[in-house]
């Protein structure tokens, strides 16, 4: 850590910069304390309501702090930074966390309410640091904070064997991928004698790729590919999506994706600058771009084809998540400023739609016992509001206009092609695969709207809070689809102001 020897650590500035995270941790501890000291004997729902409100309050406080604080800071060579772009991603993560917390209020899967909220908030804290750092050590530590919280969240439904299995798989694969990542990081440190991404980029620059660097690129891709559930590192995803309690699964599928993709983009474009190579046909040049292009292509094909055969909605969403990870990796392959804007727009709207879908799944599971597709037969007759919501989320994932998912795809593909005409093959593959995806998405809609309700259907109860969440998310997806500029303007302004 040569850089630190010369720099004076300014703890006051560090504290200033870490205020949002501190607020989150305080809120988390408050939630645990209140839950364990005051509410132990109360009903689970009340405990969840109180703990989730405290947690959300913490998130809101953190958002306010982010919105009001000075936006440009850089501590210790990028160990902790603040700029409008980081702030935007952090706010997106916080908003998604609030939705997750609200989603958990009506759930019954656990009696350890305070701990659940605590873990959600520690995971959020991990994500906040993750996106705000350009230093390998801090990145790795925040990533572990995030991952360890998520493993426990996946296992939180203690009565469910599936939840155990999911968490164990997640943990084992996660541990392995962390090892890969750390190995890659250690090679990068060895190559550059620094943990700062910019310094690494400076020292790996050269006419030809160092073989060690190639190994570092590949292992880092494995580690981060696991986080974003890209094929062939996606094996945990279907089990976790299916086995984890609904709020945990929603959280893993949304907020953690936003943070991980942003990190992936940063790491690739800042840390590996100069070793890009090219995936543009007909002249593929060695570097990290062709590696990611390959992973993206495999994810798109495999995710979409396997999703067709699923009979559980959560597993279907898991494979569709693999496919979406493939689309989003294209933005990293393109690695331009516009493609970062497209990536952020895509991943944020994708996260909104995914949380919404899990909100509906949670209600259906409470009523019918599982997320088998056959339980969605005739849902539109029983719960028209929720069905309309799920239809909007699913069509948005399928990329049907005028929903947010369509503009996300359009903009993403435009930016990829803008970066290089030679990437047309990836764009064609992506668009062809999204045509395939419509088939399985429509199968879900068909069950809800076309098939009749089972004759022995029992009464269906949808909690008010869930309906409100679904309505809010659906409105957001429609609004961002009809007026993409609302979000896009903000992303572009942040990009400009951050000087990227």
């Amino acid at each position: 850590m040569i850089a630190i020897n010369h720099a004076q650590v300014d703890y006051a500035a560090l504290l200033q910069l870490a205020w949002p995270e501190i607020l989150l941790v305080v809120a988390a501890l408050a939630a645990v304390a209140v839950d364990l000291l005051l509410l132990r004997k109360q009903a689970t729902r009340l405990r969840f309501a109180v703990a989730a409100s405290l947690g959300s309050l913490g998130c809101v406080a953190a958002i306010l702090r982010l919105a009001l604080a000075p936006v440009h800071a850089n501590l210790l060579d990028g160990t902790l930074i603040a700029n409008p772009l980081v702030r935007l991603v952090q706010i997106a993560v916080l908003v998604l966390t609030i939705f997750t917390l609200l989603l958990s209020v009506d759930s019954q899967f656990t009696a350890h309410v305070g701990e659940f909220v605590l873990l959600i908030l520690t995971a959020t804290t991990g994500m906040m640091f993750l996106v705000a750092s350009q230093d390998l050590l801090v990145i790795f530590i925040s990533l572990e904070l995030l991952s360890l919280s998520l493993y426990i969240l996946a296992a939180f439904s203690k009565r469910s064997l599936q939840s155990w299995e999911a968490a164990l798989k997640y943990f084992l694969f996660g541990g392995m991928s962390a090892a890969f990542l750390l190995f890659g990081f250690s090679l990068l440190y060895g190559l550059s004698n620094s943990t700062s991404l910019l310094a690494i980029a400076g020292s790996i620059h050269g006419p030809s790729l160092n073989p060690l660097l190639v190994i570092a690129i590949v292992t880092t891709t494995v580690g981060l590919g696991f986080k974003v559930a890209a094929a062939p590192f996606h094996f945990w995803a279907p089990d976790v999506y299916q086995g984890a309690p609904a709020p945990s699964a929603a959280f893993i599928a949304s907020a953690s994706k936003v943070a991980s993709f942003f990190l992936f983009f940063q790491l690739a474009t800042l840390g590996f600058a100069g070793a890009e190579g090219s995936a543009a046909l007909p002249h593929i040049v060695r570097g990290w771009v062709p590696v990611l292009a390959l992973v993206a292509a495999v994810s798109m094909v495999l995710g979409n084809l396997v999703a067709i055969t699923q009979s559980s909605l959560r597993r279907l969403l898991a494979y569709s998540a693999v496919a979406h990870a493939g689309y989003m990796l294209l933005a990293i392959v393109a690695h331009t400023q516009q493609s970062l804007a497209a990536l952020l727009y895509y991943v944020i709207t994708y996260a909104l739609a995914t949380i919404g879908a899990f909100a509906v799944i949670a209600v259906v599971e409470d009523n019918k016992g599982s997320d088998q597709l056959s339980h969605f037969d005739g849902l539109a007759r029983q719960a028209p509001g929720l069905s309309l919501g799920l239809a909007i989320f699913i069509l948005s994932l399928a990329g049907i206009p005028p929903l947010a998912g369509f503009f996300g795809k359009f903009y993403l593909f435009v930016t990829v092609l803008q970066s290089s005409k030679g990437l047309l093959w990836l764009v064609v593959l992506a668009i062809a695969m999204s045509a395939v995806s419509l088939y399985y998405y429509l199968k879900v809609l068909k069950r809800m709207y076309v098939l009749p309700l089972a004759s022995d259907a029992e009464k269906f109860e949808s909690p008010i809070l869930s309906q409100v969440i679904v309505a809010a998310l659906a409105a957001a997806v429609v609004l961002l689809g009809c007026a993409p500029h609302l979000l896009l303007r903000w992303i572009e302004a942040a990009l400009q102001a951050s000087g990227l």
């Binding site: 206009p401 005028p402 668009i431 088939y439 068909k446 709207y449």
Partner: protein, 504 residues
């Protein structure tokens, strides 16, 4: 005002959900009023239209950082098709007066479909056009899958996947064109004016053209059409054949051919199987479609399949007309879009609503002994008239359109024109055969009185049939009505690129 054709349809669809539970009659009337209002707006614009002008309806920035605008505009070609949409949407509702199952949802999906179709015809910005083009897909699926008949879920899924694959091809082409042209604007005029390189046009033209032509029933990508039409409920078949297939043809003319004219015209360096350019290829495919559709229609046992394949045949005329690249052929193609929209609607209405909804069978062999010409004479008369119009008898719109296309084809492809002549003759035969088998078959045994006497033809059906026949006759007798605005539109600067290469 013309933009309100879109909004009013969407608002009507939204209003369906505000109606009280079980109000079937109210839903029908609301739907009819919405469609009539849309038609009235379309007609007003049609009457006021000054020939040759590109009328800007609305133009506001939409996504400024990408140069995408919410830009609606209409010229003679789009106005013709908007008018067609208005007519078909009204009659479609009249012919679905008997929908009792989930009525409100039916009309909601129906009106969303109509609104999106208006949107496609009015869009001048290609991003906007694509948005509306894709919105069309989803209501189609539900209309067929929920209210359809024979193998409805299969037919619906097949139709949707074909449409989506087509639009995926279009999307690739549009994104490529947008990026190559510098990513400043998605406006049709701007992109059509951009000099794309010949190499680029050579691959982009067939991509976008086929993408749209899949929806227009281009052989060999037509197979969704007969199954989809047959599975669909009457109103949806009318819309599918009447206007949705026209979306494809409109896209071919309006987008593919204006954006990439060189890809269409320029001869290849090598001749392949006697074909020298994309123009030859698509003209040949169109003619194969004409003859093949007619031949297959000739041997169908199911009444609705006869009409389904006849649509493939008639759509072949439109595509052939586009490929002639001369004024008479192109304007004939646009008139044929209108004419086929009206006539296909009428034929599907007779088969689906007047016959099938009463007899519950479409087997020609079973229909024959029912002596339908005596039981429901109105249906028989309507079918005879519609059949004559469809064969291309003078006095009906089909005659004018097909004659113009044939003359155009004679100039451009004399050999193919002969084949088209054969197709027309087969067209006469299959209509005659279906008519004879369904309505005028002499039953050998004494006709047994059916257990349930068939309901008489209702007033909405009569009204719908009269509107459609009237429209066809009007255009047949006075084609200048449409040609006066179509021809100036074809001579507008938008088509400069095409005119430079081989316009006669």
């Amino acid at each position: 005002m013309l933009a309100w054709t879109i909004y009013i349809s969407f608002l009507g669809a939204a209003a369906m959900f505000l109606l009280p539970r079980g109000s079937v009659a109210l839903a029908r009337i609301l739907a009819l009023l919405t469609a009539v209002a849309g038609f009235a707006l379309a007609l007003a614009a049609f009457v006021q239209h000054r020939s040759g002008e590109m009328l800007t309806v609305t133009r506001v920035p939409w996504i400024p950082s990408l140069g995408i605008e919410y830009h609606l505009a209409a010229d003679g070609i789009s106005l013709t098709l908007i008018l067609l949409t208005g007519i078909v949407s009204i009659t479609g509702i009249l012919f679905s007066w008997d929908v009792e199952h989930r009525t409100k949802e039916f009309f909601a999906f129906y009106l969303v479909l109509i609104g999106a179709v208006y949107g496609v015809f009015l869009s001048y910005d290609l991003f906007l056009l694509f948005v509306f083009y894709e919105i069309v897909i989803i209501p189609k699926y539900f209309l067929i899958a929920i209210w359809g008949s024979t193998r409805r879920e299969y037919g619906a899924m097949k139709l949707v996947l074909y449409s989506f694959i087509g639009s995926a091809m279009v999307l690739v082409g549009l994104i490529a064109a947008y990026v190559v042209a510098g990513s400043h604007s998605m406006s049709l005029g701007d992109l059509a004016g951009y000099p794309f390189s010949l190499h680029f046009q050579m691959f982009a033209f067939p991509l976008v053209f086929v993408g749209f032509a899949i929806l227009a029933g281009l052989w060999p990508f037509h197979t969704w059409a007969p199954t989809g039409h047959v599975a669909a409920p009457t109103a949806a078949s009318m819309l599918l054949a009447g206007v949705v297939m026209k979306l494809g043809a409109y896209g071919c003319l309006r987008v593919a051919m204006t954006l990439f004219p060189l890809g269409l015209i320029t001869p290849w360096s090598h001749h392949l199987l006697g074909l020298g350019s994309w123009r030859d290829v698509f003209a040949l495919l169109a003619v194969i479609g004409i003859v093949y559709g007619a031949l297959v229609a000739l041997v169908q046992k199911d009444f609705k399949f006869v009409i389904g394949y006849s649509s493939v045949s008639h759509m072949g005329f439109i595509l052939l007309g586009l490929m002639t690249l001369n004024q008479i052929g192109l304007s004939g193609a646009v008139v044929q879009m209108f004419s086929h929209g009206i006539l296909a609607g009428l034929l599907f209405a007779v088969v689906g609503r007047m016959v099938y909804a009463r007899t519950h069978t479409r087997e020609l062999a079973t229909l024959g002994p029912m002596n339908l010409n005596r039981v429901i004479p109105f249906a028989a008369v309507t079918f005879v008239i519609a059949g004559m119009a469809s064969m291309g008898l003078p006095g009906f719109s089909g005659f004018v359109a097909e004659l113009m296309i044939l003359v155009g084809a004679w100039h451009a492809f004399p050999m193919l024109a002969v084949c088209v002549g054969i197709g027309i003759v087969i067209g006469v035969v299959y209509v005659w055969r279906a008519m004879q088998k369904a309505f005028f078959a002499e039953s050998r045994s004494q006709p047994t009185p059916p257990e349930h006497p068939l309901a008489p033809i209702s007033l909405p059906e009569r009204l719908g049939a009269i509107i459609l026949i009237g429209a066809s006759v009007l255009v047949g007798v006075y084609p200048q009505l449409l040609l006066n605005i179509i021809i100036p539109a074809l001579n507008s600067p938008l088509f400069d690129g095409l005119r430079k290469g081989g316009w006669q």
